[in-house]
């Protein structure tokens, strides 16, 4: 278990030190959402209508943007070889790296989401639900993304391929994330959507490390 915390702490400090990607993803998130009022016009009704979708799509893309470095930096400087050889099972290493990725990119996005929700003129109950949906849903973005990142780590120009592989798998998260907020704004129960989001996240906690670990071994062959 100490190995797990070591990998987690290492990745976290790398993400927040100089040259780390944590704050870049957040900046991308904010800028992307800001583009929409400029693009579709500042009409409050339209913004409130598309707000949840825009925020979720921007969150998906910013998670994706920071994913291609999830394993690549380690592959380039050779530390991936050591992580594979380490006594900690590779699946646990993947899980630790996903946890670090979520803490360094997912959490800032969640923190910024309410402010962006206000900018998009979303009602208060919508913002609270958005917050809950993002807390439950964004872990799966890091986990599902790790599968794609592991598969494309050894591929030249893997970034574009990564988005082709990962975005289709993100679609359920997007659908239920937006559906939860829409349900809250019209006064329906948000419970089923939040439960489904949690199910996706919990399922990917189990499946993603199992799929990503052999993909990483393959990259080192």
């Amino acid at each position: 278990m100490t190995g797990f915390w070591l990998v987690l702490r290492r990745d976290l400090s790398l993400a927040f030190k100089q040259g780390g990607a944590a704050m870049l993803a957040l900046a991308f998130f904010v800028v992307t959402v800001t583009l929409f009022p400029l693009g579709v016009g500042p009409s409050p009704d339209i913004l409130a209508r598309i707000g949840p979708g825009v925020i979720w799509v921007a969150a998906l893309l910013s998670a994706l943007l920071s994913l291609d470095r999830l394993f690549q930096a380690d592959l380039e400087d050779g530390s991936l070889d050591l992580l594979v050889l380490a006594p900690l099972p590779l699946q646990a290493t993947v899980l630790a790296k996903c946890a670090a990725h979520w803490l360094s990119t997912g959490l800032p996005l969640i923190a910024a989401a309410p402010v962006l929700g206000l900018l998009m003129n979303m009602p208060a109950e919508g913002i609270w639900t958005l917050l809950a949906a993002m807390v439950l849903g964004t872990p799966s973005l890091s986990l599902i993304g790790a599968i794609g990142a592991a598969l494309t780590v050894a591929v030249r120009r893997g970034g574009v391929l990564l988005s082709l592989l990962v975005l289709p798998l993100y679609i359920p998260v997007l659908i239920f994330g937006v559906a939860a907020v829409d349900a809250a704004t019209v006064g329906l129960s948000v419970r089923p959507h939040l439960l489904l989001l949690s199910a996706i996240s919990l399922g990917s906690v189990v499946l993603a490390p199992v799929a990503a670990a052999p993909a990483l071994r393959l990259a080192l062959e």
Binding site: I147, L151, V155, L161, L164, L165, P214, L218
Partner: protein
């Protein structure tokens, strides 16, 4: 199963299967099309547009079936390092993507007169579109690696991850209230459509499956040959480099 890990033995089996599957495909698709387009009764609500069903429904079944076949042969390739299974998976992908595309296009053509719209973002249509993206991603991953062995493994992992989508597509019409009608052939209480429409539909389904088998055999044969040519070229290049 391991008997057919030997490509030569697989090729012999393939040669034996191909004439039969091709003949079945031609006969059943011809018969199914003539029956379905010419003799099956028009629907009491939908009129003659219901005949799109004879292409649309079997191709949807095939798109799902082929992804399933791809996932199973990917698992076989990963677990037992089966030499032909990953080629079967690779050869299946474009066929499945083709059927998926046919299903989406014919569904769109059917949707315009019936629902008044070419496209509707409901669960069945969206999940079918995701299936097409999965096929495309799978094929792109094969292209991304120089070394076919590594490409095979990476693609196999992706195929297995993507197979999560299959039950979602199958049950999307039951789980969500959608514009797309729920299952009417494979239900617990038996098929809900009349025998005069069911028969040509099943003929088409058999025909599409036989078509898949024939093209799969052809494509797998080509993949085995391509792999042999690659091995020969590598051997020559190494021999030349050694001189």
């Amino acid at each position: 199963m391991h008997r057919f890990a030997n490509p030569t033995r697989f090729l012999r089996l393939a040669d034996a299967i191909l004439p039969w599957s091709a003949a079945i495909a031609v006969l059943t698709i011809t018969a199914g099309l003539i029956w379905g387009l010419g003799f099956a009764p028009p629907d009491y609500q939908q009129g003659d547009t219901v005949r799109i069903m004879f292409v649309h429904v079997p191709s949807a079944w095939m798109a799902l079936f082929i992804y399933g076949a791809m996932a199973v042969s990917s698992a076989v390739a990963l677990i037992w390092k089966h030499a032909v299974a990953d080629l079967v998976a690779k050869a299946s992908a474009p066929i499945g993507a083709g059927f998926c595309l046919i299903c989406l296009i014919s569904g769109s053509l059917w949707g315009e007169p019936m629902w008044g719209t070419w496209w509707q973002w409901d669960a069945r249509l969206t999940s079918m579109l995701i299936l097409l993206f999965l096929y495309i991603g799978y094929m792109a991953l094969w292209q991304a690696f120089d070394d076919p062995q590594r490409a095979a493994k990476a693609a196999a992992i992706l195929a297995l991850v993507g197979s999560v989508n299959l039950p979602i597509i199958k049950f999307s019409v039951d789980w969500w209230n959608t514009l797309h009608q729920p299952a009417s052939v494979f239900t617990l209480s038996g098929p809900k459509i009349h025998i005069s429409m069911l028969m040509p539909l099943l003929l088409m389904a058999v025909g599409f499956k036989a078509y898949y088998v024939s093209v799969l055999v052809l494509r797998t044969r080509a993949e085995i040959m391509a792999r042999r040519i690659r091995a020969l070229r590598l051997t020559y290049a190494q021999a030349e480099a050694a001189e």
